[in-house]
Assembly symmetry: C2
Homo-oligomer: 147 residues x 2
DNA sequence: ACTTGACTTAGAGTCAACTCTAAAAATTAT
DNA sequence: ATAATTTTTAGAGTTGACTCTAAGTCAAGT
């Protein structure tokens, strides 16, 4: 199946502007153009966009994604570079998830605190709750600064 | 304990420039200044910076963080707004974590694929592996575009 | 007292990633 | 056939979050 840029925009949620921008940045080197100069996207291009989304969402800048695509185009001589890139991205991603889970605990604490505060009509009163104090200490206990 | 901007910079990893920028943006309304105009940070300010980091890391723009701080300063009349904000942030964060875990699966697939490709010296050969094909289908199986 | 380093301000500059504009050509709908 | 919509390009503009500069003040060490 072949798709116009508008269809791909609907499908991916990226604007047509963004898709052209990605192409200009070298992220979509496989997209064909017909005789009138109009882009014709294939299933394969959708696959690339899915991979781009994955790398972008996991914190890789567009330049890094372009590097990967450049390596892909160089062929099998860059296989280990690409493997290495994915392995690093995995390490980074696992770290990210771990951090977000810690942040989730902090936000849960705040929700508990504010639920109590709404109930009592006062943040100060809620902060006097022993259970919440213990939780706060556990979560926000920052190491002291040394001279 | 009282700290200068430099100490806080060391402690938080934010540059002094960034700390002043945050203050200018209204994110640190509690930071005091001494008679010479020099910022004096307290433990309480570190607590605020920790919360700012949490909200920033979970995708809230600085404007949203400022809104929260403005509400805080308005006092107990905004308790439910703040509770609501944290509840929304939690929903958003859980969604984020779920998405990152999906991305992790995709990256794991790519690692398996490239490990096989490196072993075989060819990406094409690796792509012919039945197990990997099944996995690819499971992970990248995109819905068709409808007319 | 002098030097070195940290602090102050207002404001300019940078960077990544879009986002939009304008004018023209192609495609689709009536 | 005509109108409306979509696509094309090059290039300019925007946004968010810093990041840096310059010119000056303050503080600590010798």
């Amino acid at each position: 199946m072949r798709y116009t840029i508008g269809k791909i925009s609907q499908k991916t949620g990226l604007t047509t502007h963004t898709l052209r921008y990605y192409e200009k940045e070298g992220l979509l080197p496989f997209v064909q153009k017909n005789s009138a100069g109009i882009r014709v996207f294939s299933e394969n291009d959708l696959g690339w966009l899915s991979m781009i989304e994955c790398l972008k969402a996991t914190g890789m800048p567009l330049k890094g994604i372009k590097q990967y695509i450049d390596w892909y185009q160089e062929g099998d001589t860059t296989l280990s570079k690409r493997l290495n890139m994915f392995q690093n991205q995995k390490i980074y991603l696992k770290q990210q998830i771990k951090e977000l889970q810690k942040h989730l605990e902090k936000i849960d604490y705040k929700i508990n605190l504010y639920q109590e505060a709404v109930k009592q009509g006062s943040l100060e009163k809620a902060e006097n709750n022993k259970e919440l104090q213990k939780e706060k200490h556990r979560l926000f206990n920052m190491k002291k600064i040394q001279k």
